[in-house]
């Protein structure tokens, strides 16, 4: 099984199905298109999106079903739909796709989750997209300690 190492973390063993294509990259990292969904028991429930092309680029993520179980969004026909996605209802709890939040973990500030731009992983297609929601009531810097405690995000 191949492994990937990113600074301070790993090596993570991964399977073929953990290799995801992001057709548009991620905002600020548009040129990186292939990411490994890396996981390890010691870091659960966090998972990592590690660039296969540039392993020093990695994101700490958490499943939205854990942070905000009711989280969902609609992609409406006629809106700009990211490549590889169809219009429809996307919920945090689903068998066909996985919704992740990218976390920001500053050294001297509380951790936050970007709930305006969830990462949607279409597991069967091994496809990933960071969906930028317009008019979301959530924040791009939602404190995750509040979510873990069941409070309302800011």
């Amino acid at each position: 099984m191949p492994t990937i190492t990113t600074p301070g973390l790993g090596p993570f063993a991964y399977r073929d199905e953990d290799v995801l294509t992001f057709p548009e990259g991620l905002p600020a990292f548009e040129t990186l298109r292939i990411f490994v969904l890396a996981q390890a028991l010691e870091f659960a429930p966090f998972v990592f999106l590690v660039s296969l092309e540039r392993p020093s680029v990695r994101f700490v993520c958490a499943p939205l079903v854990l942070l905000a179980p009711d989280y969902s969004f609609e992609l409406l026909p006629g809106e700009s739909i990211p490549a590889g996605l169809e219009p429809g209802h996307y919920a945090a709890a689903s068998g066909s796709h996985l919704l992740l939040a990218i976390l920001t973990l500053p050294e001297h500030a509380p951790p936050t989750a970007n709930l305006v731009a969830p990462v949607l992983i279409h597991t069967a297609r091994r496809l990933g997209v960071q969906v930028i929601l317009a008019g979301s009531a959530y924040s791009h810097i939602t404190p995750i300690h509040l979510l873990a405690a069941g409070g309302a995000p800011c």
Binding site: A28, P106, I132, I144, A148
Partner: protein
Amino acid sequence: MLVFRRKVGETVVIDGRIEVQLLEVTGSRVKLGFTAPPDVTVMRKELFLTLEENRRAAEFRATESFSGLAARLRVPVRPSNPKPPPA
């Protein structure tokens, strides 16, 4: 905040070189057109915020407090779900 009232087809000029034209109004949605020099980046605010946040997120450094945070999140604290704040 500076506020203008504009009709469809009318334009606002920013800094003598950026034009914002109101193209269409449909219900609560408006379509805007931007004309700007190549050195001016125009994007939706939510994309801008995510772009900046992704840069910050990618600066993550694995520390002991990170392992502690993972351990805390492993314990579900309450079954209730956080709701978005009222719009």
